[in-house]
C-alpha cells in the first residue's frame, strides 16, 4: 500500500497491464513522448516503446476506429481521448461500431477496447473542457461505462476494464486527478464491475453519486451530520453495469434518496436512478427523490462553481429530503 493520487492510480494500472500482457497498446494524442496532457501515461513511452504507446494524429474518429481494428485482431487497445468534450468525432465509431460489433456479428467479432477520457468540470475549462455526457453512452446498449472516484478504484477498475471482454468507456474525473488521494494496493488489484461502494455509511437519506461528485457528497454528508442527519453516500463506480441491489437496498433502509451528478438534469443518468427507485421501492419512500445536478445549459466558464453541484447545494438537497414529511 502506498499513498497516491487518482491519476497515479490510472498510470499504475496502465503500467501493470502493459507489463503483464504484450497485447495491451496505449494510443491517443500526446500520450507518448509527452506522457499525456494530464500525465496519465507518463513514463509508458520510455518503458514500452513507440509501437505500444502510440502518439496519434489529431483525429478522434481515427483513434477509436483504429483501436477497434486492433481489438478485432485480438489486441487490447486503451485509447485516450484527451477531453470527453472531444469525443464526438468518434461517436459513430463508438455507437455504431464498438457497441454493435458483437451483436451484429452474432458473437463472431467482439470488439473489446477501453476508451479513457477525462470528464467533468471544476478546472476552469469552459464549455469544451468540462462536460459530463455519460448518459450518451449509458443509453447505448453494448457499452460499459465506468467512473472511478478514488485512486484505488481508478487503478482497480481500469485493470478490470483492460482485461474485460466488452467495450468500456472509462471516464476519469479530472477535477480530482490530483486532489483525490488514498492508499493504492500493490500489483494487479482489480475492482469488479457492478459493485457500488459505500463511501460513507448513514441511515437517514441515501445519496447516489459517481466521479468527482463523490467527495463533494461526502463533504455535504459531513455538513448535515452536524445537524443530526446521517446521510449514506453511495459511489456507483460503474453506471453500466449498475448495482441495482445496492441502490434499492440503501433506499429501502433510508426511505429517502438524493441523486447527484454534474451533467444537466433533463435526461441525465439521475433520471435512470430515480426511475429505478420508483419502479422498485416506491413504497419505501418517505419523500420524493431529489436530483442535484448541473443546470440545463451548456457549461459556463466564469460561473462554473454555481453551475456545478456545490457542497452547500448538495447539503441543502440532503437536508430538504431528510426533513420532508
Amino acid at each position: 500500500m502506498t499513498e497516491a493520487t487518482l491519476i497515479q492510480g490510472v498510470n499504475q494500472a496502465l503500467r501493470i497491464a502493459m507489463a503483464k500482457d504484450p497485447d495491451v497498446i496505449v494510443l491517443g494524442e500526446d500520450v507518448g513522448v509527452n506522457g499525456g496532457v494530464f500525465r496519465a501515461t507518463d513514463g509508458l513511452y520510455k518503458e514500452f516503446g513507440e509501437k505500444r504507446v502510440i502518439d496519434t494524429p489529431l483525429s478522434e474518429n481515427g483513434i477509436v476506429g483504429m483501436a477497434i481494428g486492433m481489438a478485432l485482431q485480438g489486441l487490447k487497445p486503451v485509447a485516450e481521448i484527451q477531453f470527453m468534450d472531444f469525443i464526438y468525432p468518434a461517436f459513430d465509431q463508438i455507437v455504431s461500431e464498438a457497441a454493435k460489433f458483437r451483436y451484429r456479428s452474432g458473437g463472431e467479432f467482439p470488439s473489446h477496447l477501453v476508451i479513457r477520457t477525462p470528464y467533468g468540470g471544476g478546472i476552469k475549462g469552459g464549455l469544451y473542457h468540462s462536460q459530463s455526457t455519460e448518459q450518451l453512452f449509458t443509453s447505448t446498449p453494448g457499452l460499459k461505462v465506468v467512473i472511478p472516484s478514488t485512486p484505488a478504484d481508478a487503478k482497480g477498475l481500469l485493470l478490470t476494464a483492460i482485461f474485460d471482454e466488452d467495450p468500456v468507456i472509462f471516464l476519469e474525473p479530472k477535477r480530482i486527478y490530483r486532489t483525490a488521494t488514498g492508499e493504492l494496493p500493490e500489483g494487479d488489484a482489480r475492482v469488479p464491475f457492478g459493485k457500488a461502494r459505500i463511501a460513507k455509511e448513514g441511515s437517514d437519506v441515501s445519496v447516489f453519486a459517481y466521479g468527482a461528485m463523490v467527495p463533494q457528497c461526502v463533504q455535504a454528508a459531513n455538513v448535515v451530520e452536524k445537524m443530526g442527519i446521517h446521510a449514506e453516500v453511495i459511489d456507483l463506480r460503474t453506471l453500466v453495469p449498475i448495482d441495482v441491489d445496492a441502490i434499492v437496498g440503501s433506499v429501502e433502509k433510508t426511505g429517502r434518496a438524493v441523486v447527484v451528478h454534474e451533467a444537466p438534469k433533463f435526461s441525465g443518468f439521475g433520471a435512470e436512478i430515480s426511475a429505478m427507485i420508483a419502479e422498485r421501492c416506491l413504497y419505501s419512500l418517505k419523500a420524493p427523490v431529489l436530483r442535484v445536478t448541473g443546470y440545463d445549459t451548456p457549461f459556463p466558464y466564469t460561473l462554473e462553481n454555481l453551475y456545478l453541484p456545490s457542497v452547500d447545494r448538495i447539503a441543502r438537497g440532503i437536508e430538504r429530503t431528510a426533513s420532508a414529511t
Binding site: 481515427g62 465509431q93 458483437r102 456479428s105 458473437g107 463472431e108 460499459k144 471482454e165 453500466v240
Partner: protein, 363 residues
C-alpha cells in the same frame, strides 16, 4: 464461338499479355474467375427477383462490381483480413464463406450466423476473415488501419484490405484511415469501388477531384485508377499492389472505376436520377460480357462448359434458397444474447420477464 454482344468493349489482351500480366496458371485462374463472376451475376438476378416477390426483405446487388470482387478475392491469402464496404459479399463467397450460411443470412433466419439481426447483404464472415459490416459509410476504413497496425505489430504475414465506394471518400473516416495508414506505413490496401453513384448523387458532386485515386497523394500513399470492369487489369494491378504491401512498402490505394448496373438497392428507383445513355455505357463495361468475350476469343471455355457452369450455379442457389426458406426464424432468446459478453441489468430482467410480457393476447 459466340458473337461479342453489341457495344461491349473487348478486353485488349492476347495470350502473351495475359501470361505476363496474370502469371503462371493464368488459364485456370481465368476459368475460375469467370465462374465466380458468373456466380455473382446469377446470384444478384435471383435475389433481386426474390425481393420483388417479397421472399427476402431487401437486397443490395453488386452487378457491375463482379470483376473487382473476384479479382481481389483470388489474390487474398488465408491470413489477410477484409473490411468490406457495401458490395463485396461475392468476395466473401469466393474466399470460402459458406453459401448456405450466406443465404440463411439473406433470409434473416435462425441459421444466419448473425441470427437475423442485420438487414440482408450485411453478412459476417469470421471463418474467412470477412469483418461484419455496418451500414454506416466509411467507418471500416479506419478500422482497417487498426487491423493492419496489429498485423505489422505482430509481424503477422497478413495484410488488410478495405473496400469502400466513391461516396465514402467524402467522409471524415476516409481521411482518418488513409492518414493513419500513411503515418504508420501499414500493410493495408484501400480499394475504392467507384461505381460513380452514391445512391442518386453522381461522383462529380462528391468531389472536385476528377480522379479519386489522386486523393491518396495527400496521405503519402501511392494510388492509381484502373478500369474495374476489366478482370485482367484488376487482377494484375492488385497483384502488384499486394506484392508491394507484403514486402513492407506500406499502404496502397486502388480506385476501380465500375458501373453500377442495378439500383443502389432493392429500395431505390434509379429512373429518378440516372441520365439517358447511362445504361448503354454501363453495358459496354459489363465485366461479365467483357470477360466472356475474352474467354471465347481464347477458346478457354466451350458453350457447353459455360452452360454446365451456369446450370451448376443455378442449382446451387436453388438448393440454398430452398433450405433457407423453410428454416425457422431466430428464437426469441437470441434477442438477449451478444449485446455484451454477458447480459447485465436491466437486460437480464427483460429476459426473465419475457414470457410474462409477451404471453398471449388480452381477452
Amino acid at each position: 464461338m459466340a458473337a461479342v454482344p453489341e457495344g461491349v468493349l473487348p478486353l485488349p489482351y492476347g495470350e502473351r499479355d495475359l501470361a505476363e500480366l496474370l502469371g503462371d496458371g493464368w488459364k485456370e485462374m481465368l476459368v475460375r474467375g469467370y465462374r465466380w463472376v458468373l456466380f455473382g451475376r446469377l446470384m444478384d438476378s435471383r435475389f433481386l427477383g426474390l425481393q420483388r416477390q417479397g421472399r427476402v426483405g431487401f437486397y443490395g446487388p453488386a452487378t457491375g462490381h463482379e470483376a473487382l470482387n473476384v479479382g481481389c478475392a483470388l489474390l487474398l491469402r488465408e491470413e489477410d483480413w477484409v473490411f468490406p464496404g457495401l458490395r463485396e459479399q461475392l468476395l466473401a463467397l469466393v474466399r470460402g464463406l459458406d453459401l448456405q450460411a450466406y443465404v440463411h443470412h439473406l433470409f434473416g433466419n435462425g441459421l444466419d450466423p448473425s441470427l437475423g439481426r442485420q438487414m440482408p447483404c450485411h453478412p459476417t464472415g469470421r471463418p474467412v476473415a470477412y469483418v461484419s459490416m455496418a451500414s454506416t459509410v466509411g467507418t471500416q476504413i479506419v478500422q482497417a488501419a487498426g487491423s493492419a497496425y496489429a498485423q505489422k505489430f505482430r509481424n503477422d504475414p497478413g495484410a488488410t484490405v478495405a473496400f469502400f465506394g466513391d461516396g465514402a471518400t467524402s467522409t471524415s473516416d476516409f481521411h482518418a484511415g488513409m492518414n493513419l495508414a500513411g503515418v504508420y506505413q501499414l500493410p493495408v490496401l484501400f480499394v475504392c469501388a467507384n461505381n460513380q453513384w452514391a445512391i442518386s448523387v453522381p461522383v462529380r458532386r462528391q468531389t472536385a477531384v476528377p480522379v479519386l485515386a489522386e486523393k491518396s497523394k495527400a496521405y503519402g500513399i501511392p494510388g492509381e485508377r484502373i478500369d474495374g470492369t476489366d478482370f485482367v487489369r484488376v487482377y494484375a494491378t492488385l497483384r502488384r499492389a499486394f506484392e508491394d504491401i507484403r514486402t513492407g512498402h506500406g499502404p496502397r490505394m486502388v480506385e476501380a472505376l465500375v458501373y453500377r448496373m442495378n439500383p443502389h438497392s432493392s429500395s431505390d428507383d434509379p429512373t429518378r436520377y440516372v441520365p439517358s445513355g447511362w445504361m448503354k455505357e454501363a453495358q459496354a463495361h459489363d465485366p461479365l460480357a467483357r470477360l466472356e468475350e475474352l474467354m471465347d476469343r481464347l477458346g478457354l471455355l466451350s458453350s457447353e462448359q459455360k452452360e454446365a457452369m451456369r446450370k451448376e450455379i443455378e442449382d446451387q442457389l436453388r438448393r440454398a434458397i430452398a433450405a433457407a426458406e423453410v428454416a425457422q426464424p431466430p428464437t426469441p432468446d437470441t434477442l438477449f444474447r451478444d449485446t455484451l459478453s454477458e447480459a447485465v441489468w436491466p437486460l437480464t430482467e427483460e429476459r426473465d420477464t419475457f414470457d410474462r410480457d409477451q404471453g398471449g393476447h388480452f381477452p
